[in-house]
Symmetry: C2
Subunit: 307 residues, 2 copies
């Protein structure tokens, strides 16, 4: 079992999924690989970034490190990705795109846009005075390449993985993916220092960092992403848990209503702005589908931040 | 602060929400009330019930115990419901309605219907040999009456509460509801011994039992149900957590895909039938909205049952 390392040198980066791309490394099943990754803004944001800096970012997609070929892996095999370690580098950003461009869950309510630069400590990061967000870093975007001729956008998740943004894919978890092309062609990027369920403002705490994974063949078939998650499952933070229930004709509407109510709740509870509350939802609020069978659907948002 | 008790005598039951109904009791803010409740089948199922028994149930809605008037409560006040205790009586049922009648999340996939009778112990109940579902009893349906002239169905939840099915409304939690009519007119029913997020097969572990609540006025305004939930938040059970991620064009489709994949996973993992797995999802699987902003939505289902 060998250990490999891929720097974030441009030669190891790509910005779309494409089966025709040559692998930058070939590993054996069971090997570990340490991937250095850029953040979702491709390393183009300065500390203290402004909305203008966000608008000026010029990247054709997520900066993905890879692809890595796993020797012997064939279509219909299952790749198991053991997430062994995720390390940040002390800085991160959360932003809301300006304009009603359709990005995020509630774009029409936050057209002004915003960006927050985080200084990250070991266990938590300060948002505003007294509001600490616990860190639980994980890769937002990881997967193998689709069989269909590319290029394919890095934005949507697919059955082969990609931009899943499942917050429980932290160190200690395992992700299972169906393989569609020989060798799999695994890449990873878009690291998050912390994320709420939904990633509702379209960004988490976006960080550059390093992900170490073991890539192995699993002996069971999967049709879509499955995982043995790492947790934790309680809402992030050490304050008392409070929750808002959104009702709607479908799960989409109920989700929006739950987040709208949580934005109002955070404003009331913490004395922050609505835009700050929207970003806090995106980095620290959990979202559960409470019931989906009673004509009117209920989704509940949970938070436990102290202040 | 007085303690009140309402039996499940027919004089204390109603099957719709209607502001014109006279209260069966009047209490002062801060009083506690112990409500005896029938199960969702109105007490009409025998132990060992069959699908025929389910089809034969004749009830015009959930059997709700109440309504209770809270003296002095006015429209636009907020009612706080402290859930102090929820007790079962040793028996419960989970069922799937036969026919493709649109009940539940995946009715077209389970037209045969099914019913399972549970014997409930203190902490858990056995589904099939070796699969124990932890009990976490809570009232599925609780709320005050809508201002609009009735009668109104007991099926959908509303801003004033009702059939919320939020599993974290167990003992130790508080629910906040906006009041629409003088006195509030609070009722409760549809107790669940355990429920998964979503209640996907349309029933949880449906139980008769007793709920004790404190009814008080809260000094903050709410527009919709809010809660200080009791937890726990980890997936129910003491087995290792495993999860399936469903992808879709919207949250509804992603939810269905996550549950479909979890049904398959439970069949594979536990050697049970698909119908049994569907019922297990409804009583013991959590559902989180992983991301809702990446063009394709991801919902993840979590389970921790041992076997």
């Amino acid at each position: 079992m060998a250990d490999h390392h891929l720097s974030r040198d441009p030669a190891h980066l790509h910005y779309d999924w494409d089966r025709s791309r040559d692998p930058v490394a070939t590993v054996d099943p069971g090997d570990t690989v340490r991937f250095e990754c850029r953040d979702a803004a491709d390393g183009q944001l300065p500390e203290g970034a402004t909305v203008d800096d966000v608008e000026a970012v010029d990247a054709p997609g997520h900066a993905m490190t890879g692809p890595v070929e796993i020797a012997g892996l064939e279509p219909d095999d299952t790749l198991a990705v053991d997430v062994l370690d995720v390390a940040h580098e002390g800085v991160g950003w959360t932003w809301v795109y300006p304009g009603e461009v359709g990005a995020g869950l509630l774009p029409e309510e936050f057209p002004e846009g915003a960006v927050h630069t985080w200084e990250l400590a070991d266990g938590s990061a300060t948002f505003v005075d007294g509001i600490e967000v616990p860190l639980a870093p994980f890769p937002g975007n990881l997967g193998v390449v689709p069989a269909a001729e590319g290029p394919h956008s890095t934005t949507p998740p697919r059955r082969v993985g990609g931009n899943l943004d499942v917050k429980h894919l932290a160190a200690g978890s395992t992700l299972y993916l169906p393989v569609e092309v020989a060798g799999g062609l695994f890449s990873v990027g878009d690291l998050h220092g912390a994320q709420g369920d939904g990633e509702v403002c379209i960004t988490a705490i976006e960080i550059p960092g390093t992900v170490t994974v073991r890539l192995r063949r699993a002996d069971r078939a999967v049709d879509a992403p499955e995982l043995d998650p790492a947790g934790p499952y309680a809402p992030a933070g050490d304050g008392p848990v409070t929750a808002t229930t959104g009702l709607g004709d479908d799960v989409d509407e109920a989700t929006r209503e739950a987040v709208r109510a949580m934005v109002a709740r955070l404003v009331e509870r913490h004395g922050i702005s609505r835009l700050e509350a929207y970003m806090l939802c995106s980095v620290a609020v959990d979202l559960k589908v409470s019931e989906v069978v009673n004509d009117t659907v209920a989704v509940t948002a949970y938070v436990a931040l102290a202040r």
